[in-house]
Symmetry: C2
Subunit: 215 residues, 2 copies
Amino acid sequence: MRQADIIAKDIENRIVTGELDHGVRLDEVSIAERHAVSRTPVREALQLLTASGMVEHLPRRGVFVRQPDLVELLQMFETMAEWEGVAGRLAAMRIDGEGLARLMAADTACAAAAAAGDADRYYSENAVFHAVIYAATANAFLEGELLRLHHRLRPYRRSQLLMRGRMEQSLSEHRAIAAALRDGDANGAAAALRAHVTVQSERIHLMLGRTKAAS
Amino acid sequence: MRQADIIAKDIENRIVTGELDHGVRLDEVSIAERHAVSRTPVREALQLLTASGMVEHLPRRGVFVRQPDLVELLQMFETMAEWEGVAGRLAAMRIDGEGLARLMAADTACAAAAAAGDADRYYSENAVFHAVIYAATANAFLEGELLRLHHRLRPYRRSQLLMRGRMEQSLSEHRAIAAALRDGDANGAAAALRAHVTVQSERIHLMLGRTKAAS
DNA sequence: GGTTTGCACCTTGTATACAATATGATTGAC
DNA sequence: GTCAATCATATTGTATACAAGGTGCAAACC
């Protein structure tokens, strides 16, 4: 793996963990020293992050960490909800036996993780559940866009799984989604998936509102 | 503007015009010589293009032009149609008087361009019409994603405006969309916008099929 | 004659040196 | 005392030099 990719991943982690907060300027030289490399791979890493939208690049000024505020976060979740709804509509019309089998397997794995109270495992199995639906759209381009946004929202979705009862509620929503897909109910699947994501959005709203009030 | 941006734009143009076809390897040195610069800004330009998905980067191998084939193109248009539908649904619920006024102004400008038979002008005014709808979603993130995909599909959409009667048909579709938005008919606006883009997709299918058969 | 291995060359990845521009402070004028 | 202009400094943008890895050809062996 190239140095640029390693550095980009490191900075990405430090951004999502909050170590690098909004507005912090990412100095090329200090990052280069931290990783014991020259500025060249650092610059490439910063360009990767710029493309993913995690940092902002101001010409001749430098790159700055760009943490989405509450408004932008809610907009991103609304977009995710709508896109998941689209995926559900298409998947309901196109999913085949193999896809349904994979969906059931993912559902079972989610249930096992929830029963064990393992939030980390639930998170990753939940990601599989959704990825199966993305793949069932039979649209590789849309699938890629969905995976990209899903990944970008990962840190904000993950934190709220710790809320009490969220895993069980999520699981029951999965059941409704799977049923609609099985029955070929396009509108039902779209509505169920939109609601599934919108719930997360509302929880985030509560959490960040609380955090802000506490700080 | 940085050299990297200039070079990226140049290569992008040469890709969309077909001068650089699928699979062509973009040699850093020859591009650098072409623009009379060093390899450094060329590498940055290639990274920008990699991020936008126009070229593919294979480590230690180089970057290669990546023209979407017919299947991928149809998938991209299907995605655009669905996303436009989403935008229509949200815009119908949220558009205000000013937004409607801007929509009408864009419609008038489209009509003028169509009456003059000016395909170029129709194209740019059509882009405004759609951009107004994107903005009316009151979701800046979604708006950005829509503009990004719209731009990416630009070369493929543009070519088919030359087809006879397309501008008139497009115009009448715009009227239906505007009416649904004015009436706050969310489902109607979504369906009208989906259909509006899907028609383009079908035309593309015909055109590329023909081109392929002719070559 | 076919296959495999080694070497030369070419290309990408990285380091460093140089150029240009924005920032901030300092000094001068009003 | 305040504002503006200018210059020093630091940081980004670009060029060039060096390192490392991959490709293709050729020669030798099977």
